[in-house]
Symmetry: C2
């Protein structure tokens, strides 16, 4: 294990890069050396058992201490998962994720699978079951459990290279980092970089921009076509677009509070808006040798229907070719965020920015682009980020029959007041309610309606800040503010409480559904019901 | 009045056409001669009053018989409106609608204004008030009222040239003809021409296709640019698109039943789907001399932002330039409907077809296209077909502050069963529920959810027929069918009644709002709440 797993992982994933020069195998900077025996083998010895216990299922039972001793090719590589013990020695060389698997050697793989959610399929579990050699001793009976757990540092090593984050971010999961923007950060039109919400599916890669090359693959594109960041910057026209990115699960907690869903408990802050600068994806694809389709022809794109993005850290997603090359689509390969190099948390040195679509398609650290006749086969495109009926459960949701989320539906949320706030009228005898509104597909916000009686009567909010963009290219959110007459609010208060509601209407006159029940889905995505906030109202 | 008003009207409206040849003044075939004195002046004489009564407002009071005698330039042209009497002799020559105004000479203009809704503005009423000479005698006191009313044939003459219509069409207003498709007609994917819903704002013009020329005006386009139907057919590539057209007020009656709205009481049949064949608007505009914009450039369309369509009968509307010339927009100038010349009711000989937008923009009998930096200034673009908040009334709705409806929101409706039907399970122990679903902007239908308990629990419907179209170009509706287990339905029946609900989800994951209250607007447009049908369920 003298070779850093990070290098090795990327050699496997990007063989073209690693072949072209020895330097490019360091494309991603090396993670700390994880091969030290003191880290992986300094275990409390387990007393040997002369007679091995057998479980009810007829398999031998192993303690955590015994498993921990099998952590090298000499001893065999064992891991545990839930209540199973597996000898994966023969699997290490064919593991799609490369030698990263060795970080779990002798330990539980459960925490790794929680991070690398690509494993969450019946097929992967079945594959693992082929390597089963026994059952794991119940924790209560396992005298070695406490010592062993405290030595399982593998998962932490994956995240030792994370960037620093602003303390105002509200962390929903530490590893990988998922943290939403503070409500105060959302009340300005452009979100400062350090206050932008963080949504990471995997550890943040540490990419050396000097060594980085973007690969592009597809019919008609030369095998060795790739671009350095410098080449991208010098060969193509620079374009800046103000684009709001929103996570598919933004506001999930509100749905969860009505009926439980799976996923990070985002409140309304898995959304932010910044100016992205980069080059047009369509320009780059054309330069690579792809003939931009004439959309007036039938069968214009028989062999290429999707553009796939692969992040160097392992994430992947795709978008339809129609969006990818639309002159009005404004899909960018961005290297700047608010005029600065994109911070590591947001995709340094290069990020796909797909305006009007769910943020999950704006792939960070994008290292490879593939023109294909199929969607990305990544876990996140195929088995996540899809919608289902309120009557589907996590178990009955058939991902093969649902469609990937691309354009987002109409959305809005109240930022002020917050639930439980004490509010009263200002000097103009008005009560101020503020928030954001956004629609997918470049649709403009036409109106935001605000209620102070849970949706019985409404007032139009003022759209106080939005981009002036042409029809169908409103990629940024709209900031709105309702100045409600205090008397009007007071008449609607009940026992000192007022329930404010907002709903937005976009340029297709789509409006938000009233309740979370009606759009419930067990994964908790597409959470666009009316935003409701109950505050305490004090008459003057 | 020897000249047919129809000729005269179109001479005024299309001076270029009438100047270029004497023939083109017959561009629209002549309506029957309406100048016969026997029609307009055969009136019961009114006994003269020696002392004229004065109304409370200080104006002289006239009977209907007296007004009727002022029906020519010799006697002066008088008309009545509500309770006013007006001498419009000096206005006739400057009336924007030309001599058509003479059809009302000596009579009430109220029925004309009900048809020509362009008059329904405060400005028009104010203008009329300038010509006021007195007050109309209250009907109860007016001994001439009965005779006069029976002679007011003017309004009928406007509609003497209407085409025949299929008896299955459900008429919501006779003049102009507005008739919805029978529910049975909507259950097939392609609607036969004669069963297609009819939505006319004005009398149907009778256009001579040999004389017809499409005019195109705008910067860079030669003054005399025009095309005959033959030229259109021979110069440009023919394109066929299956496009569903839906009236902005489809399903209005369901909203009206919850809270009254203004407008035709459409049920779910102001929608139909056919194959339109024609040429691409973008091809024609390019041929006319318009430089198609490069949408990747900033300020690509500073001087041209809208394409206006004028129907030869007086209707007008516009669409954004982005839609008009988008290679993926599929905007057609159509001359065929289901492989036959477009029937008169649907726009013969030429109709704009704007897929994905409200049908009101697919202008029939289109005779002029104008490239402009503003929307159509027509009544229907400026003072109709816009959305408002549920708290706006007809009086408080400020049309200058709302936006024209273009792309439609997500929609679906149950076609079977119908309200009050007796239903029971079929031989497979299933209850069948059927309907249609459609979204605007080319968005596909991803799912239709069907409930048998008013929305508490759901089943996925099967999408049984839809066009296989590329991303963002689903212009036709989707036919769906839910096969609900009889036991599941039976468990949800209450006292023998079942409330079925459907809601559709489109490719932006927009879903329909639950109630009409939440999207109520006083004009009754954009009526896309859940479709609910209560039927009587009999267990076997």
């Amino acid at each position: 294990m003298g070779v850093s797993w990070v290098d090795s992982y990327f050699e496997k994933k990007y063989p073209i890069l690693s072949k072209s020069s020895t330097k490019t195998s360091q494309h991603v900077a090396a993670a700390p050396d994880t091969s030290s025996k003191s880290t992986l083998t300094d275990l409390t010895p387990q007393p040997s058992t002369t007679e091995r216990a057998i479980s009810a299922s007829g398999r031998p039972i192993y303690s955590r201490g015994e498993v921990a001793q099998h952590n090298s090719l000499e001893t065999g590589i064992w891991v545990t998962y839930v209540d199973g013990v597996y000898d994966i020695s023969k699997f290490v060389t064919i593991h799609p994720g490369g030698e990263r698997i060795l970080l779990a050697a002798g330990h539980a793989i459960d925490p790794f699978w929680a991070v690398f959610s690509v494993h969450a399929t019946p097929e992967t579990r079945e594959l693992l079951e082929n390597y089963r050699i026994g059952d794991l001793m119940p924790r209560a009976e396992d005298s070695t459990a406490q010592d062993i757990e405290s030595h399982s540092k593998g998962i932490e090593l994956l995240f030792i290279n994370e960037p620093e984050r602003h303390p105002s971010l509200q962390v929903r999961s530490a590893r990988p980092c998922n943290a939403e923007a503070h409500p105060d950060s959302l009340a300005t039109f452009v979100t400062p970089n350090e206050l932008f919400f963080v949504r990471n599916h995997l550890p943040v890669p540490n990419v050396d921009p000097e060594l980085f090359r973007l690969q592009i693959e597809g019919p008609g594109i030369p095998d060795d076509y790739s671009l350095s960041i410098d080449e991208l910057k010098t060969k193509f026209t620079h374009v800046s677009e103000t684009v709001t990115l929103q996570c598919a699960g933004n506001r999930r907690k509100e749905m969860h509070d009505v009926r439980p869903v799976k996923g990070l408990q985002w409140q309304g802050g898995a959304i932010s808006n910044t100016v992205w600068t980069g080059v047009r994806l369509r320009d780059v694809l054309a330069d690579a040798g792809y003939q931009l389709p004439d959309f007036t022809l039938p069968n214009y794109a028989e062999d290429i229907t999707h553009v796939q993005f692969d992040g160097v850290e392992g994430y992947g997603a795709s978008i339809p070719i129609e969006k990818a090359v639309d002159p009005r689509g404004d899909v960018l390969l961005a290297f700047e965020m608010n005029g600065e190099p994109i911070p590591r948390d947001h995709g340094f040195p290069l990020r796909a920015v797909v305006p009007g679509h769910v943020a999950a398609r704006s792939v960070k650290w994008v290292g490879k682009i593939t023109l294909s006749d199929e969607e990305s086969q990544s876990h996140w495109q195929q088995h996540d980020y899809k919608g289902f009926s309120p009557s589907s459960t996590l178990e009955t949701s058939d991902y093969s029959k649902s469609n990937s989320i691309q354009e987002l539906p109409i959305q809005s949320a109240i930022l002020y007041p917050r639930a439980g706030d004490e509010i009263c009228a200002n000097d103009d005898d008005e009560v101020i309610v503020k928030g954001y509104a956004l629609s997918g597909g470049g649709r403009h916000i036409y109106r935001v309606d605000v209620s102070a009686d849970d949706g019985k009567t409404w007032r139009d909010a003022e759209l106080v800040q939005m981009d002036k963009k042409p029809y169908g290219r409103q990629w940024a959110w709209t900031q709105w503010e309702a100045k409600l007459p205090a008397e009007w609010v007071s008449e609607r208060a009940q026992e000192g409480k007022v329930t404010f509601v907002c709903k937005a209407i976009d340029s297709s006159y789509n409006s938000q559904p009233e309740t979370f029940e009606s759009i419930y889905n067990a994964r908790g995505v597409l959470v666009g019901a009316w935003s409701r906030v109950q505050a305490n109202f004090k008459s003057k």
